[in-house]
Amino acid sequence: MTKKEFLCELESKLIKIGKSTESKKTIEYFDEVISDMIESGMTENDAVEKLGNIDSIIDSIRDELTTDPIPVEKKKGEYVTDVVAGSVENLIYDDKNNSVIIESSPDDEFHITTHETEQKGYNISQSGNDIKIIAFEKEGFKKIRSIFGFTSVNEKTYPVIIKIPRTFSGNIDSKTTNGSAQIKGVSANNITLKTRNGSVRIESIATKYIDADTTNGSITVNSVASDHTELHTTNGSITLNSIASPTINASTSNGTVHLSSIAGSSLNVSTSNGTVDFRSISVSGTVIFHSSNGKIVGTLAGKMSDYAITSNTSNAKNNLPNGTSGGIKLDVSTSNGRIDVHFSEE
């Protein structure tokens, strides 16, 4: 077998077992050692033969790649799992009925703190470029629950704490319910935070894309630089301060929206039954504020003539004209609430 044939077969078999992310490194390694053997005087055939059977190479790699990090019990029921940042690209957290705190690590490892309770445990696994933190319900409890037909039992919960190394530049995907989600002092490529019946707090973050989603909870964002920001809740307020983000889409219902120190090119805010108030808003492309049964008040950067204004409300005063022809599109609409928008240079 030639070197080329050997490497092709090895690669196609690695892809078949779902280790395509590992295949490049593996191929590079074997390419290098075959070249080194040939350089030391072996024939290409002999070199490939010395490596042995491809299937047993695959088997040994498969075993090595499933070695999971080992949780260490620090206090009764409290486990800390350390993972070397290495090639980790995706951090995935999936839980129910719990809060999560994601913050920066003091060193170049991930440190994950989880609690095991009578009902619940966590599986922390590492394969390829992924770390997964997955909550599971203990079998014994699941059985009892199915016999007696109840859905859950209140027990004390402990938030999961995930510390992210500063060197990390991959993706964070966090999903829980009935608990809050907090992220602070982290940089990442993509950040997704989802919860239900809990608040979301995002602070001191640099990222390309951030998506926060909850229901029955507020969203608070402070000091964030992001290429794209999506924030959605229902029955909760949204508060944004010090945001530099070309695109910001924020929506809630039955909640107020407070905005301060925002820089971007597109800002789209909508609520219902809530006030929208804002100051220091500097947007170059499009500003949209929509509400119903709530007033819209605040100050935008520049002069009124910088904006192309469309505005309307009902049963209340509106201080904006319609039909100005500036370069920035400004669309303000509500009902049963006044519109009172000012401009910083007037």
């Binding site: 074997f30 290098e32 042995g52 190479i57 790649l65 070397v84």
Partner: protein
Amino acid sequence: MDAQLKRGLFEAAVLRTLKKGDSYGYLIIKDLPPELDATESTLYPILKRLESSGCVRVYSVEHNSRLRRYYSITNIGEAKIKKFLEDFALVMKVYNYIDAEEEQ
């Protein structure tokens, strides 16, 4: 040899090799004790494991217009050798006990 035992010996031996200086796949094999029956294929998963546990660091160097990956031992790797030697000091005590029993 028991697979688990062999893997522990293999890892510690690779770390010992790297303690003498940074090295690359083919050369590491040449330096390892022959009793380990190490080949380029069996070395690969060991290197992967040492890398993912932070015991070694990897960097590339150009050689004859191709890249060679060099492995370098880290502090974690040095600590791992120390731990291995401590563990084996205990193993040797038990070995001596077992060996003495055999002689009787």
